[in-house]
Amino acid sequence: MRLYLEIVRRAFSRQLTYRAATLAGMATNCFFGILRSYVFMAAYTGRVDARGWTLDDALTYVWVGQALIMPVFMWGWWDIALAIRSGDVVTYLSKPFDFYGYWLSQDAGRAICHTLTRGAPTLMFGLLVFDIALPSSALNALSFAASVVLAVWISFGLRFLLNISAFWLLDYRGPGILLMFATSFFSGLLVPLVFWPDWARTIAEALPFSGIIQVPADVYLGKLADGALLGALVFQLAWALALMLAGRRLISLAITRVVVQGG
């Protein structure tokens, strides 16, 4: 366990060194947040609510979503796939630690850093400029924190599977691009799932992607009553575990037939 905590710590401080990129990235997240906020402000003119959501709800949603983009690493991550392609993956596989545990710890360190340096400031910007709501209670805030942890874990599970696919596919970019777009669409980042037509919403809410943005945002907004809140967290946990099992199963399959490229 100490080993993994040390990996988390190192990944955290490595991420912390990219200061200029952090600032620039935050500017981009904020600018897109501003654009989306104005779209909703215009859409809500002359109406008080849409599907039970007020303008304040929609704006809060926009900024929670923008703040989560980096913690859940929406735009892709290819480290393992690149290591598979270069053959370096062999060194990771032969070291005395759990392969999945190693990369999960790496990602946890990165996510903690991104939450502090990218997520929190972006949310702060939304709070100051667009006057969005804070979580309504301590329970809400705590369950939001838990939901974000699960969101990162689900997102990691998906990215891990995708990276592992490089053992079988020579070109991981096709599936990678597909995952990136699927995540930004089905997670509700582009348009909250509540505003989707019912048939599409039903499908999207069953997929793991909804656990990446929509569920944490619902929790933040306090849209879920006690029972539903628990249900939402269980939904996230179930997907996180399922993806972990699938990832671990695949990696053990891959090890039995590893043919290193370029090595």
Partner: protein
């Protein structure tokens, strides 16, 4: 002048041709990536349609009108990205010291950088935006006149030139700061997202900035007002609909001059 221009165009085409030939070697991979990108980009359009399905309209613009803005902006951005993506990856080139190689060659640096990252798969964005435009033309009832038919391609071309100029401006910044040029993403990707909606919905300061400093107002908003005969800016002078090519020419002129200053100012990173 014309001779130099022709020579540059020929050089650009040669460079692009060689890149296309190398990408055509991996046909399966290329087709897969292009198709997947097309599919992925289509989700953006679907998201807009879902939003309009719930809200009916945004500031008086229905789904057809918004799709028109989205299509115009998307095609313009896609063309610019296709032709000049080399400027988008210019920071990388500077960091790796690759610009030095280009400077040593007996050919225009501008042209060489422009052709440095030509990717066939970028057709997918243009294709996706084209779908949006076709849907928009079906969903709206534009009173077509010969002038409007001429105007549409001209407006798209102007928009593409404006986005290309923004790419160049972003690349030019790198001559002074190698770091933090990702900010320019805000203007390129952000600009294409922004122009997918009517400019009138944004904050006053943003509208002014994108009219007088970086005139992205002319990419989609002004052309759409004209094509749809929307009177919402009746207080603006009528000649404003003719401004897109003028704005494009000014912007590309300024960016080309600044680029030249940058090239002369350039000192290699030395590594």
């Amino acid at each position: 002048m014309t001779a130099i221009l022709l020579q540059d165009i020929r050089l650009y085409l040669t460079l692009v041709e060689s890149r296309v030939r190398s990408q055509a070697q991996y046909r399966g991979s290329f087709l897969l990536v292009t198709f997947v990108t097309f599919l992925g980009m289509a989700t953006e359009l679907v998201a807009v349609i879902f939003l309009l399905d719930t809200f009916g309209d945004i500031a008086g613009w229905g789904v057809g009108e918004i799709a028109l803005l989205y299509g115009l902006a998307g095609i313009a951005f896609g063309l610019a990205e296709m032709v000049g993506a080399g400027f988008d990856m210019f920071p990388e080139m500077i960091r790796r010291g690759e610009l030095d190689q280009l400077l040593l060659r007996p050919a225009g640096v501008f042209t060489q950088v422009m052709a440095a990252d030509f990717q066939l798969r970028r057709f997918s964005r243009i294709g996706q935006a084209l779908v949006a435009l076709i849907l928009a033309l079906r969903w709206t009832s534009i009173a077509w006149t010969p002038e409007k038919m001429l105007y549409l391609p001209l407006a798209i071309l102007s928009g593409a030139i404006m986005f290309l100029a923004v790419f160049v401006l972003g690349a030019t910044l790198c001559f002074w700061t190698v770091e933090s040029v990702e900010v320019i993403n805000t203007l390129t990707n952000g600009g294409s997202e922004m122009t997918g909606y009517p400019m009138s919905i944004y904050h006053d300061l943003m509208q002014r900035f994108f009219t007088f400093v970086i005139p992205l107002l002319f990419v989609s908003y002004i052309p759409a007002l004209y094509l749809l005969d929307r009177p919402e800016r009746a207080d603006w002078p009528g000649w404003i609909v003719l401004m897109p090519p003028v704005a494009a020419a000014c912007l590309v002129g300024v960016s080309y001059i600044l680029w030249g200053v940058g090239v002369r100012h350039y000192r290699s990173t030395g590594s």
